[in-house]
């Protein structure tokens, strides 16, 4: 049985339908990519899984249990953690405080302050600085670390590469295997297709709210991917 199962998910913003009948599954220990153009519904998908959008109860199942539409605060308790698009660190909190608040619920697991600093050494020497005074790449590290502090079973990453230089992006993605090794499954939403395909084993392509293509990264044809991405 898959760890996280999305079946026939539809999501709406007021009258606008952002997701149409999306299905997806993630196994334990897997890294999965969701790609697509702007407005394809990638963030909406993650936000729905994380509870920020109200959806039908049975459309999302974690470990067999229906979790669709539950509140974000209770989903974190069950092991779903979101790294939001644009980082969205807390400006009033220092780096360390941002991390600590990620661990607010006190879920058991391997992740704590020391482990996060071991994963991202650059953060340790800046731990008492205001989180918003860090560089973009470092802020992204804080955002990931903050999500990890809740010891999730599924980590949802929304556009890690946004606004970052290629080498920084590469370094970030290089840490993902270490995270998976600790028993966390990851869903990565990306506009940077190449990077996404390099880091993950399975990819879903969204177009106008639908899954237009899915498959093992190695097996996907370049041209098929292009058509699926742009909807042609």
């Amino acid at each position: 049985m898959a760890l996280l199962e999305v079946s026939g998910l539809s999501a709406f913003y007021r009258d606008f339908q952002a997701l149409r009948n999306v299905s997806m599954s993630i196994d334990a220990g897997q890294i999965v990519a969701v790609i697509g153009a702007n407005g394809a519904g990638k963030s909406t998908l993650l936000n729905s899984i994380a509870g920020l959008i109200d959806v039908d109860r049975s459309c999302i199942r974690l470990d067999g249990e229906s979790t669709g539409g539950l509140r974000p605060s209770s989903l974190v308790g069950r092991g779903i953690s979101l790294v939001p698009e644009g980082r969205r660190l807390f400006p009033s909190l220092s780096v360390e405080e941002n991390l600590l608040i990620g661990g607010h619920l006190g879920r058991r697991g391997p992740w704590n302050l020391e482990r996060i600093f071991a994963l991202f050494p650059a953060l340790e020497e800046r731990r008492h600085q205001r989180s918003t005074s860090l560089s973009g790449g470092q802020q992204q590290m804080v955002a990931i670390g903050r999500a990890l502090m809740s010891n999730p079973r599924v980590l949802l990453c929304d556009e890690l590469s946004l606004g970052l230089a290629p080498i920084i992006i590469k370094n970030l993605y290089a840490q993902l295997p270490a995270i998976v090794a600790e028993g966390v499954s990851i869903v990565v939403v990306e506009q940077d297709v190449v990077q996404a395909m390099m880091a993950t084993s399975y990819v879903y392509c969204l177009h106008e709210g639908r899954v237009s293509l899915e498959g093992r990264c190695a097996a996907l044809d370049r041209d098929n991917l292009k058509s699926a991405y742009f909807g042609v």
């Binding site: 509870g51 920020l52 509140r71 953690s81 807390f90 608040i101 607010h104």
Partner: protein, 287 residues
């Protein structure tokens, strides 16, 4: 020498005003809500202390033990039951708390009449400490000032050194993302108002010992607290303490010039700060 005395009294009075302001400022910081009924709640808690003292035969300081917890519960229930529904726009919280203010004043009027009351703390009220020739400091105001400083330090410590304080700050920064951390924003806001009203309860008891009060005394408490916040600068409780002191001194010095002028002198000080340095005397720079 009487001027020095006046200034001294003003400084100590400032502590009380800072207490009026602390609860108000806390709520605005955490959820951007200004509780127009804050002054009336201070008066309500003073009345509670009065009746607790009458019924249980205890002194006003002891009445704090029952009034403060009750105030905290009222704050939590009020936030979750009513005020949480108003957040999101400017107008509803203003008008709802305004309505609350009118309701509290008139309910007090109905049940307690317009007679003014005072909390008695016995001889302690009259005790004073003679610092030098011609300069004495009342023990009651001194105690209240010290308590105010301790409470402000306590709230600052809560906000900056505890998990709850982190939760307050995170929720005020970004309520949606705070939810992603497992924080229940409705609950956090409830706790914030509970703390705010607990501070208001202490303020009410202190105020009630110092001067007589009646159902219509609320608005003036609100205004003093508000003036302390604006004079001191928003964003920092220590700034509010400074603002309260400036306000207190303006009032006592004004009273020295003419016995009928203290309140007006305070307003003038406030207007001057608004005119010359609208961000306040000690505003917090970030955000």
């Amino acid at each position: 020498m009487q001027w020095v005395n006046a200034v001294m009294q003003g400084v100590l009075l400032g502590g009380l005003y800072a207490l009026f302001a602390a609860g108000l400022s806390l709520i605005f910081g955490v959820m951007g809500l200004v509780n127009v009924a804050h002054g009336d709640l201070i008066v309500l808690f003073a009345y509670m202390a009065y009746f607790a003292a009458e019924l249980l035969g205890i002194g006003p300081f002891a009445s704090l033990l029952c009034v403060v917890p009750v105030a905290a519960v009222i704050g939590y229930v009020l936030q979750r039951g009513v005020l949480n529904r108003t957040l999101g726009a400017d107008l509803p919280p203003l008008l709802v708390t305004f309505g609350l203010s009118v309701i509290i004043q008139n309910v007090l009027l109905i049940f307690c009449t317009a007679d003014s009351r005072k909390l008695q703390s016995g001889t302690f009220e009259l005790a004073s400490w003679k610092v030098t020739e011609g300069l004495s400091v009342g023990l009651l105001p001194l105690t209240q000032f010290l308590c105010a400083v301790i409470m402000i330090a306590g709230v600052q410590a809560l906000f900056y050194r505890t998990a709850l304080g982190r939760a307050f700050r995170a929720t005020s920064d970004d309520p949606s993302v705070a939810q992603l951390m497992g924080l229940e924003t409705k609950h956090i806001f409830g706790l914030a108002l509970a703390l705010s009203l607990a501070l208001a309860a202490v303020a009410g008891v202190f105020m009630g010992i110092r001067r007589s009060f009646d159902p219509s005394s609320g608005p003036l408490m609100l205004i003093f607290g508000f003036e302390a916040i604006i004079i001191g600068g928003m964003g920092s409780l220590w700034g509010t303490l400074a603002g309260g002191i400036v306000l207190g001194v303006a009032q006592t010095v004004g009273a020295q010039i003419d016995v009928a002028w203290p309140i007006l002198a305070g307003h003038v000080a406030f207007l001057l700060v608004l005119l010359i340095r609208p961000q306040g005397l000690f505003p917090k720079v970030f955000r």
